[in-house]
């Protein structure tokens, strides 16, 4: 073998191994993060953590029941606000749209998807908090809901487009009009995919902190109704992690583990089970 060939072969093996190393490093980050959180947060998880209010500053113990409930309330609002708009908008793009408007809507959805979440927070602040003159669960849910819309819309559209046109033609042939065709044939056919997209979008906003900082704000107690500031898991992790108390730090780890667990479990379940049999192939 000539020296040149040896060089080329060595380079081949070296560079290819390096790319493997890159992939390995990236992927191992997830296992490392998960392992480290379990290691640090696992021991502070207890029944109290899920059922008690935060203890007064300086006192040990207490839990995050209000933050967990607060997060659920915020997600419920986000789903109620964001999913219908995204879903119907997606139906419009896939089934009813003309030429110019769908292009514009699609482009805007991608744009809105890329807007930093903190900017969405400013928007919700201007639109909800400023007129009401105080922070509220409603404002936080509104901010998260806006972040849900583009994802649900784009997902719905792409799954509806994947429904074979033979199904549409078949229902027309049976005499159905368009909305019946969409509501009873096309939407059910795409329902798993649409549900997948909606759940993933909600799992994503469940971990959002930035848009909640000045909308839902925070609360050391239960937040009654929808018009009061509320605590939420991501915000309390931020507050506790940057706070000065040792006990807060331990609680932040535990809350981090709960949040990460929720997000990852939702993602894994949704991606493996719901997406089976749909064309939810992102590759």
């Amino acid at each position: 073998m000539s020296a040149r060939l040896i060089w080329r072969k060595t380079l081949n093996v070296t560079m290819l191994s390096l790319t493997g190393l890159c992939a390995l490093l990236t992927v191992s980050a997830l296992f490392f993060i998960l392992g480290y959180l379990i290691w640090n947060g696992g021991k502070d998880l207890s029944w109290n953590f899920f059922t008690r209010l935060p203890a007064p500053v300086g006192e040990a113990g207490g839990g995050m029941a209000n933050a967990i409930v607060g997060s659920l309330k915020l997600l419920l609002l986000a789903a109620l606000f964001g999913v219908p708009i995204g879903l119907l908008g997606g139906v419009y793009l896939a089934e009813f749209g003309g030429r110019t408007l769908p292009f514009l809507v699609r482009y805007t959805a991608d744009l809105l998807n890329g807007v930093p979440s903190i900017v969405i927070g400013i928007f919700a602040y201007a639109l909800v908090v400023m007129p009401m003159h105080h922070f509220s669960t409603l404002a936080g849910g509104f901010a998260l809901g806006i972040m849900v819309i583009p994802t649900v819309l784009r997902n719905t559209e792409s799954f509806l487009r994947d429904v074979p046109s033979a199904l549409r033609e078949g229902s027309f042939a049976l005499g159905a009009n368009k909305w019946k065709m969409v509501a009873t044939v096309v939407l059910p056919a795409a329902s798993r995919g649409i549900l997948t997209g909606a759940l993933l979008a909600l799992a994503r906003v469940a971990g959002e902190t930035a848009p909640l900082l000045f909308t839902a704000f925070g609360n050391r107690y239960w937040s009654p109704g929808w018009m009061q500031p509320t605590s939420s898991l991501p915000v309390i992790i931020y507050t506790y992690a940057t706070g000065p108390y040792e006990d807060w730090h331990r609680q932040a780890w535990a809350a981090g583990l709960v949040l990460l667990g929720l997000v990852l479990v939702t993602n894994i379940l949704v991606r493996t089970f719901l997406s089976r049999g749909t064309s939810f192939e992102r590759s």
Binding site: A23, L37, L88, Y92, G97, P116, G121, T151, T209
Partner: protein, 329 residues
């Protein structure tokens, strides 16, 4: 039903109350209208978003004009607001993040697209997508309690010893600062570079690889000299996309950058970013000018990500011709 609902008869098109009523009686038109309203709501929200940012930042814009972007002082008490330290911090941390994340992400993507067997490739991509789903505040948590101490005791002293002659690696090692924020950001954006680059690489025609191999190229040569160049526009797209993410990333950066509006050449120095100052000061901003200066920062951030995302999508669409529906959520 007497008429086919899908074909508009001339009478349907005529503009009279009765014709309108007849058209609306068809459930199709109602369904059309409802879905149209939903789609238009999205447009409305986006327009309103831009409008609000523009109007609410008016006070700061008229008072400071363009000097807002070149002024270094940020003094809420004296009513002096300059955005330069924040813009600087945002750009520096994002640049560090890109320098680390792009080789890692593109390298990983090459492995997944060119070498790994399909099963391994799809399961690794699955893990990388999960990594992209990890909330930002979790990265911040790990950053504060794990990375910052390591930076302070190990990495920063080591860098100072070996590369300390560069102004980039001088000054006291606090642990927090531009470099730490950049590293955390890098870990956060790698999955985006990886999965988009992988898709772009997979979109390169198979013949290209086979032709290169048939000419006697090694696997690496066919990848590096044929496949990667063919996909380079899309890879640039993935980089812009990741950059847009990095610029707007808030929580993790806020927790490790040091939150000190200061411009320093050293990457060890504490700094501040646009998103971080918004997260820290927005809810406590007193006075209209203060608030409006912060909102102007939000506007800057919005415009930066707007341009980058638009560019990224254009580049990715050009190479894969499949559109942005394939982006990771």
């Amino acid at each position: 039903m007497a008429t086919t609902p899908n074909a508009a008869t001339p009478a349907d098109l005529a503009w009279s109350p009765r014709a309108l009523l007849r058209r609306m009686r068809g459930a199709d038109e109602i369904a059309h209208l409802i879905t149209l309203i939903a789609a238009a709501t999205l447009l409305l929200i986006t327009i309103l978003l831009v409008y609000q940012l523009w109007v609410l930042s008016a006070e700061a814009r008229t008072k400071f004009g363009w000097s807002f972007f070149v002024t270094k002082t940020w003094d809420p008490v004296a009513g002096q607001f300059g955005a330069l330290p924040f813009i600087y911090g945002t750009l520096v941390t994002s640049a560090v993040a890109l320098l680390l994340a792009v080789p890692l992400g593109v390298g990983g993507a090459i492995f997944l697209a060119e070498l790994a067997p399909p099963n391994l490739s799809s399961s690794l991509t699955f893990v990388s997508d999960l990594l992209a789903a990890v909330p930002s505040v979790i990265y911040g948590l790990l950053g504060v309690f794990l990375l910052v101490p390591i930076m302070r005791t190990t990495i920063q002293p080591a860098l100072k010893k070996t590369l300390g002659f560069l102004p980039l690696f001088q000054g006291p090692a606090y642990g927090i600062g531009f470099l730490t924020a950049g590293i955390v950001l890098a870990i956060m954006i790698v999955p985006f570079v990886l999965s988009v680059s992988r898709e772009v690489l997979l979109a390169v025609a198979r013949d290209q690889r086979e032709a290169a191999l048939a000419l006697g190229a090694t696997k690496w040569e066919s990848t590096w000299k044929v496949v990667v160049p063919a996909a380079r526009i899309g890879i640039f797209g993935s980089v812009f996309l990741a950059l847009a993410r990095a610029l707007g990333e808030t929580m993790a950066v806020t927790m490790v950058i040091g939150n000190n509006p200061k411009i320093a050449a050293s990457l060890f120095s504490p700094g501040y970013s646009i998103a971080a100052v918004l997260a820290n000061e927005f809810s406590e901003a007193t006075g209209n000018l203060y608030l409006s200066a912060l909102i102007e920062l939000g506007l800057v951030l919005f415009l930066l990500t707007f341009v980058l995302n638009g560019l990224a999508r254009l580049l990715i669409v050009v190479t894969t011709a499949r559109g942005s529906g394939a982006l990771p959520t």
